[in-house]
């Protein structure tokens, strides 16, 4: 292991380094160099001198201040993934249509692909990497695990960040398009399945694990989700 790699946390190591090592071992001469560069470039620009067109900014992510030199055109999503090695936030559509890039800014859920990193200085950014406390998962993460709220997992970081925000929104009395009486918002206990689906409509799941996702949110808000077998029957009932 090289020196820079030792400094990475266990979370940061994971899949990207596995990919790099696997490619090296396989001797994939053509594809490997560029992929390896992408893998190992994590904080290169932070230590380099300012390149023309770049600007120096500080982003507070998961409680840590990160200083980086980037061009103003870099989206928050690309800054997280390409400059800071936080690859938990996913790039699905890159056009604000799928929700895979959802992160929290000052507690509010947003699409990190539709905002520029330079615009987010002095704000508290929370990504999927920042939800668990050490090895203790966030209750919403646990609920997704226990209710099969995913299949391939690509949309899951976005779904979980969106669900974490959803809980806070309901606690704060927010309304949705399907709330029958706008002056009487639902509580966590009364949040209906229709409300959950409407409030999570900004996160698509191409595996269509929606039954599990709704069940996960039901568990997270303190309700008892139907058994997986029951939801299977519902989804096939005429």
């Amino acid at each position: 292991m090289t020196e820079p790699e030792k400094k990475l946390s266990a979370k940061q190591r994971s899949r990207r380094n596995f990919l790099g090592q696997s490619l090296s071992a396989a001797g994939a001469a053509i594809a490997a160099p560029s992929l390896l560069n992408a893998c190992q470039n994590k904080s290169v620009s932070a230590s380099n001198a300012l390149v023309e067109g770049e600007t120096t900014i500080e982003l507070k992510i998961n409680g840590h201040i990160n200083k980086l030199n980037i061009e103003p055109r870099v989206t928050l999503l690309d800054a997280l993934r390409e400059n800071l090695g936080l690859t938990g936030s996913k790039k699905g559509c890159d056009h604000g249509q799928c929700g895979a890039c959802t992160v929290l800014i000052d507690g509010q859920r947003v699409y990190s692909c539709l905002t520029l990193a330079v615009m987010q200085e002095d704000r508290e950014i929370t990504t999927i990497e920042g939800l668990a406390a050490g090895d203790n998962l966030h209750p919403v993460q646990t609920a997704f695990l226990e209710n099969d709220g995913f299949q391939c997992g690509y949309c899951t970081p976005g779904q979980i960040c969106a669900s974490v925000a959803l809980l806070e929104e309901v606690k704060n009395g927010s309304v949705s398009y399907v709330t029958p009486d706008l002056t009487n918002p639902p509580s966590l206990a009364s949040l209906s399945e229709t409300e959950i689906k409407e409030r999570l409509s900004g996160n698509l799941c191409r595996c269509s694990a929606y039954n599990g996702i709704v069940a996960a949110v039901q568990q997270a808000v303190g309700q008892t989700p139907p058994s997986p077998a029951a939801s299977m029957e519902n989804s096939h009932a005429g």
Binding site: G53, P72, G96, T102, L114, L182, S201
Partner: protein
């Protein structure tokens, strides 16, 4: 995306000065539409002037008893504001019908008014487009135009305005407050957006360098009967094929005042004034609602693939008016 310089404006005056001295500069606030357009090279500004930190995030009661909404109030904050939910419920519903929670959290009121069409030909630089580049042609007019305009379109452009919020604001007699180097002016919302005519590249009557500073809602008791009905290809997170905003004041059996506006059918939020006038003094019943709907759509000119929007609009108007006559609420 082409690179640009980035600057944070610290006041309205600062923002206007920068945009006036550099005509290639653009304002950015929530960025939900602009960042997307930058990515596909629809806009290539020299400079982005970030107005998002200017203090225009207040919702205040006006002396007249209405509301003044700062241009930087987020869509979420406006939809959830207690007075909006109580007194202008169709505005809450219209905003909540649009986009997703993530986008509504980012998007501002000013930005919502400035968002551009999602016409796929406009979005794809492989096609010519009069909106993108004047006098190059409109492939949508003879292409796949299922989602396009049936009212007020021209040979130059058949695109529709995508906003839900604007349709509700159109029936609420909202006024857009703007500021430029020449000072402040107010533009009624229904005159803020333009019909395409021969200049579809201009969506609004905002002059270069001008910045939206707020939207004023007058007091409007009949707004409590407001309804926003949105019809689309899926139940959530999709643009309107047709949307309708209505409000009615019924005294006894007779309609005293009526409001009807359509979304998803024209280059701007479409206020159906003639239908409103027809309803005045009439009984609030199905046949009058049907006649009003027919009047609202009498000048419709459907394209090859969007003929369904004419009948859909009529039925939507009838349904929305029926619910408004009962006092409004969820559709």
């Amino acid at each position: 995306m082409k690179n640009f310089t980035y600057v944070r404006a610290n006041s309205v005056q600062d923002a206007i000065s920068r945009a006036t001295s550099d005509r290639q500069a653009m304002f950015i606030a929530g960025g939900t539409n602009l960042v997307d357009r930058l990515k596909v090279f629809l806009d290539e500004p020299s400079q982005l002037v970030d107005v998002s930190r200017i203090k225009m995030k207040q919702i205040e009661r006006t002396k007249a008893g209405g509301l003044k909404i700062g241009a930087l109030v987020t869509n979420t904050a406006l939809a959830n504001h207690l007075e909006v939910r109580r007194n202008y419920p169709l505005l809450s519903r219209a905003i909540l019908a649009g986009a997703s929670q993530q986008i509504r959290n980012m998007a501002t009121v000013g930005g919502n008014l400035m968002q551009r069409t999602r016409c796929p030909y406009y979005y794809d630089t492989a096609f010519s487009c009069n909106k993108r580049q004047p006098n190059t042609g409109c492939p949508a007019a003879t292409g796949i135009n299922r989602t396009h305009a049936i009212l007020g379109a021209s040979e130059s452009c058949v695109a529709v305005n995508p906003s839900d919020m604007s349709v509700a604001m159109a029936v609420l007699d909202a006024v857009v407050e703007v500021r430029g180097m020449e000072g402040k002016r107010e533009i009624p919302l229904i005159d803020f957006h333009r019909l395409p005519g021969n200049t579809p590249d201009r969506d609004t009557n905002l002059e270069p360098g001008e910045l939206i500073t707020g939207v004023i809602l007058p007091p409007l008791p009949l707004a409590k009967s407001g309804v926003y009905l949105k019809l689309r290809d899926r139940a959530s997170y999709a643009f309107a094929l047709v949307s309708v905003a209505t409000a009615l004041e019924v005294v006894g059996e007779k309609i005293k005042t009526a409001r009807v506006a359509l979304g998803g059918v024209a280059h701007k939020p479409w206020r159906a004034m003639e239908a409103e006038e027809f309803l005045m003094g009439k009984a609030a019943n199905k046949s009058n609602f049907e006649r009003a709907a027919a009047i609202a759509l009498k000048n419709a000119k459907p394209l090859a693939h969007n003929g369904f929007k004419v009948e859909l609009s009529k039925r939507a108007i009838r349904r929305a008016l029926t619910i408004s006559a009962r006092g409004g609420g969820l559709v």
